[in-house]
Symmetry: C2
């Protein structure tokens, strides 16, 4: 199938590499809002200006949108969903219902199929929450993120006056993970689940105490957490903090038996060297499914919950049953 | 929905308890090949003779088959699949293709829907193998079982002359798990992955050395593994080995990036106090999906790969997106 990449940052580059790992996929081209001449693709892919995409309506099987959830995707996905099968990784959990409705209307109007909120959370973590809840209805689940770089929190620190660069690691608290695994089903506050480790490059002469205070008291982002702030040099930032690792855990414990006499634990965990490249792997697998489902005539918007796993695999259903079941 | 249980051993009892955890399900009755008058249900469910089930064709939404894979299910599932929506936990991996074809033909002939090989392996472990392979096509996956009781291996020991009772624990080798988690993708033999711990009650005067030799040299079951044999009393067996814990791990590691520069790990693990009761939880969740899909007019045989996760949850799709995505 022929895939297009719309937006060419870390995630777009990850999708480009992921397509190369799937022999049944081909990269039609990269669409960028920058000047295409200024964009270099290491694989030698065609680079087009974003607005040109509508010329290729009949040549592209699906478009993977690689923009940000804050401002890009709420506009882009509905805009493209009428003319293309599209897949996005919209991750603002609270706004998913509204985004879904907008994309669903556009896709239905154009007779196309869309998938939103695909990645690892939302995405694979969501799937594991759903499966585990269905299997163990009498239980409690917990999602932990990290250890890994939160781009949103890093950006929030960068907006503080006097900050040149910043990296924020979300760190699950190990002892609490053990308590969750025990099956005791503790009630946990945000502070009890995660630490926030911040590495900050301050401008020369900046008031470091004021920066540290501004971080630690920032509502939503840091005020509800134990937060550490470490000032480092630009060199150290580049040397030790330029990777984008991430990961986390979805754990559900629950009971069974007529008298709740047995306890079970289901745990799913990811340990990722590169958050955007792994997300790209999820996006391409689900793009395969969306292509197949669109070929069967399906239209409208879907989420990972609606996709039969068989449609993700390059193998035929017979091969899947023979080799993976 | 109204569910029937066909076969009333450990698994059937587990399904009975699992139905009680799902307010949208009701137990229509238990069908047994024993004398129904001799079968006691702790929940007070109706108990019928197996042959009576065809009288209730129009009253049962789905039948959960709780027989064994060796001889029961290859006959039972195709026999019932023509008149009922059926779910089984057929787990002889090598014979799945043949079983699928037989059940598919029967279900299509009767206009009914079936699901085979549902549980945790095959079942949830299979799903995790498939998802992980689709996301990380360039990688390697490993399945470890245990620590837990293998009923098949326990039965094999019980068939040795002089053995009164036996329990076999399959134990994953911890150091090897660490090597797998590292991403180095080792090639592993059966012996390197699992130990087999056997607890045996010998008849008075039995030749224990001969029993131990018979176990350790048994082809397929033990000869390819490091096996320990410990003789214990009947009292100790009853006191310390009457539970049926199990579990295991599905781990896939793989690389991404244009130059394979990043490694990722996906790990799914189960820690189960009761193998049959957890399997029952999986069966009831998938019975919900089969009921819904049958209502939409689907017929034939399915596996867990064919089921959209959304159909497993008692929540509406809107609620799923709002609360779990």
């Amino acid at each position: 199938m022929k895939l297009a990449i719309y937006g060419y940052g870390n995630l777009g580059r990850g999708v480009e590499a992921a397509i190369g790992k799937n022999p049944d996929m081909e990269l039609f081209g990269i669409f960028t809002r920058r000047d295409p001449a200024s964009v270099h693709s290491e694989t030698g892919a065609n680079v087009f200006s974003a607005g040109e995409i509508f010329r290729f309506k009949d040549e592209i099987d699906a478009v993977i949108l690689c923009g940000g959830s804050a401002t890009d995707l709420p506009e882009l996905t509905p805009m493209l969903a009428k003319d293309f099968n599209v897949i996005d990784s919209f991750d603002t959990h609270a706004n998913i219902p509204r985004h879904f409705d907008a994309v669903d209307a556009a896709a239905k109007a154009g007779g196309k199929l869309s998938l939103i909120s695909c990645g690892w959370d939302p995405g694979m973590f969501s799937l594991n929450r759903l499966y585990a809840n269905a299997i163990l209805p009498d239980g409690k689940d917990y999602t932990f993120w990290g250890r890994g770089v939160s781009q949103g929190h890093s950006d929030a620190i960068r907006r503080i006056p006097g900050v040149v660069d910043a990296r924020q690691y979300t760190v699950p608290i190990e002892g609490v993970l053990d308590a969750v695994r025990s099956g005791r089903q503790p009630e946990l506050t945000a502070r009890q689940k995660h630490l926030r480790e911040c590495y900050v490059v301050a401008a020369p002469g900046a008031d470091k105490e004021a920066i540290e205070r501004a971080i630690k008291t920032m509502p939503n982002y840091f005020a509800d957490y134990d937060t550490t702030v470490t000032f480092i040099s630009e060199e150290e930032m580049k040397k030790n903090h330029s990777a984008l690792p991430h990961g986390g855990f979805v754990i559900r414990t629950g009971t069974s038996g007529l008298h709740d006499e047995h306890t079970h634990r289901i745990e799913y965990s990811l340990t990722l060297d590169s958050n955007p490249e792994f997300t790209a792997g999820v996006l391409t697998a689900f793009a395969r499914a969306i292509g197949r489902m669109a070929d069967r005539g399906e239209t409208g918007c879907r989420t990972v919950f609606d996709i039969a796993p068989a449609d993700l695999s390059p193998l035929s259903r017979e091969e899947q049953r023979r080799t993976m079941l």
